[in-house]
Symmetry: C2
Subunit: 408 residues, 2 copies
């Protein structure tokens, strides 16, 4: 099996489904291209000798029974949907890598002792409907019907209608969660530039960072920029600048894996000759350790209050996202690490700063992730790319990991 | 003459012309309400015994001949136009105060030795067409036909058509500038909060601040807020925050009359979970001394370059407005000061941080300004207001000043 050739063919094949005329890939949940992609993957699973089937909501599974412990399942895969004008790797690479790794194992070693499964999850990106992780949350029986009953896409098409149009329905909420999954391994592009900067091929993910997102409003007084002496001002942008400057300086002192971003800044009235009376800004803070994350954000919240007070500004701090870090399963992490060593790959243990299906699955089943480098750290963009060598390296490490988990 | 009553009546009368249904006053150059206001002022000038006439472009003059030195003219007034949804004082108070002060002087002291004139200038605000100081620039023969020949308002109505519709035309550019103006005194609301904060009634303006306006673009790299470690970032908003914080700290050290404002901040992509790759911001810096202004902005430009370099950001600094400070005439300033003293007003010598017709006229004729307080420093807004007592105080100081200049 010429892995390089087959991998390229499979990526090209799936990338033709949902190829957006505006550039990049757009394959949104319960759209025609989404259904075509899932059906194409189903054919591919069957072609390599797996039995393939959808669950009620449209997650696709391929399965090959284990010869000795068929009731123990080793699972690999990722999501099939994309963002609008996304790339050709985010999501589908994890699906393709999973079935090619299994194809390679079946060809090389025959049937596994434990059952091997591929999952091509229905949705992760939240790009069409205001819901996210629909695939993985249904897989672990966490998704709730009432959360999506009334939602619609930007064209007004209802979630439920589009789901049924594709032949799917809500899952039976009374059904028990599967108890046969002994491991889930997801391979994904890094979506960052760490592996590239450090000239590595593989990231062995031991943690998915927790994140807190805030919207903060500072209120002072809008005044004439010419006639208001500095001493009589309550300049909201000046207050923001001190907060942003001091907070990021602190984040740099604290160091990795903490990250802190002030991504949105919207002064009012936002005009050259008016002292800004108000500014709305966002703060996104992530860390792999929940105690360290809480301690840092508490420090920054206090700093913001103090700076606002000093400037005579009113401050409103709204924490609207608060997700705990999700540690990966230590045994699987160690298995992946050994696989990377045995395949002679340059790798590192690292965390994921982005969210993934694995963070939904990890609290239920032993889970870990493998990263391959992203060129220039770019993702969610038609320019998303990874060297073919690195993609192949990823499939090899995944295959070696699945071999350890399913054949021994 | 009950100055308080007459002043209130005159402000109310003119404020009915251009009363905007959306709140405040909107009286734009060469509009119907603008023409109605100028014609109303003309009637008022004639009613107090002045001869009244328009120049070619629509500046309105009222004149009473001096008995001893008729060829020496003492001029007072301001502009008749407003911003969109402006207040009832910016501009027209200076016109009303001028003719009421002269009415008071004529009633109290009879004819002046020198000629007294009122000017109700056509336009100062630049609110309808992309031109500003059309009134004062025509008065001093500086306005250029070619600058307005092609311009139109936001509805597409051409400047030249609207001018002609109102019965006006371009001035004869060959005509010589008047040489009879011995003094111009403009009274205006402060549009700031200095007089109010210091509990004063009168500002004697000795300088109109120079100003420099910049647009600055910082360029770094847009990156994923979760997957990009702090050390691998080129965060344009972080760079901006250091520039804004350090520059305003320096401005506070330097102290009055320097003012520095970062009024507009526009990051890209301006999203919570993306490290901002770019930020566009404005800087507005004013000072009454051109050497001090240049020295400070040079220092800040160097600081911005240095900070950008430290952050690995590209920087583009565009200086698009560079107006020198305009000192007022020392003799008239001293005359106004003595008038404020003789009227027992609480006053201070101060500069204007905002632009006024006086800055156009001062390089041609001896000029000075009188300020009255603005409640909460508000102007260009329906909430623009000054206590009636303070308005009356202003008219009294203006009358006393004109008496010194025209009767002695």
């Amino acid at each position: 099996m010429d892995l390089e050739k087959v991998l390229k063919e499979n990526i090209d094949c799936l990338s033709n489904i949902g190829n957006a005329p505006t550039g990049g890939m757009t394959r949104l949940l319960y759209s025609d291209s989404w259904l075509a992609a899932q059906n194409t993957v189903k054919e591919k699973l069957e072609a390599i000798g797996m039995s393939a089937s959808f669950d009620e909501v449209g997650n696709l599974f391929g399965r090959v029974e284990g010869t000795k412990y068929p009731e123990e399942t080793i699972l690999s895969g990722s999501h099939i949907d994309t963002v609008v004008n996304g790339g050709t790797l985010d999501g589908q690479f994890g699906v393709i890598a999973a079935y090619l790794a299994i194809q390679y194992l079946l060809e090389t070693h025959g049937k596994p002792l434990r059952s091997l499964e591929v999952i091509s999850m229905a949705e992760e990106e939240g790009s069409r409907f205001p819901t996210v992780f629909w695939g993985s949350k249904n897989f672990v029986q966490e998704a709730k019907k009432e959360d999506v009953l009334e939602i619609a896409d930007f064209e007004g098409l209802k979630f439920i209608d589009e789901m049924k149009r594709c032949g799917f329905d809500f899952r039976d909420e009374k059904k028990e969660k599967r108890d046969d999954i002994k491991a889930f391994v997801e391979i994904h592009i890094e979506q960052g530039n760490v592996l590239e900067k450090e000239e590595l091929q593989i990231g062995v993910v031991n943690n998915i960072a927790g994140q807190k997102r805030y919207t903060i409003v500072l209120k002072g007084e809008a005044n004439h920029a010419g006639t208001t002496p500095m001493g009589y001002r309550k300049d909201a942008v000046y207050g923001f600048s001190e907060i942003c400057y001091e907070a990021i300086n602190r984040a740099l002192e604290v160091g990795d894996p903490l990250v802190l971003t002030f991504g949105k800044v919207e002064p009012k009235p936002n005009t050259v000759n008016v002292v800004p009376g108000e500014v709305l800004f966002t703060m996104d803070c992530r860390h792999t350790d929940s105690v360290a994350l809480a301690s840092f954000t508490e420090e920054i919240e206090a700093l913001m209050q103090e700076i606002a007070k000093k400037h005579g500004l009113a401050i409103d701090i709204d924490l609207w996202m608060d997700e705990a870090p999700v540690p990966m399963d230590a045994t699987i992490v160690s298995t992946i690490e050994k696989a990377a060593q045995s395949e002679k790959m340059k790798y590192k243990l690292m965390h994921s700063g982005a969210g993934h299906d694995s963070q939904i699955i990890a609290p239920h089943f032993p889970t870990a992730m493998i990263f391959v480098p992203s060129i220039n750290g770019i993702s969610h963009n038609p320019a998303e790319e990874t060297k073919l060598d690195d993609l192949v390296a990823g499939v090899k490490v995944l295959a070696s990991t699945l071999y350890e988990l399913a054949y021994k």
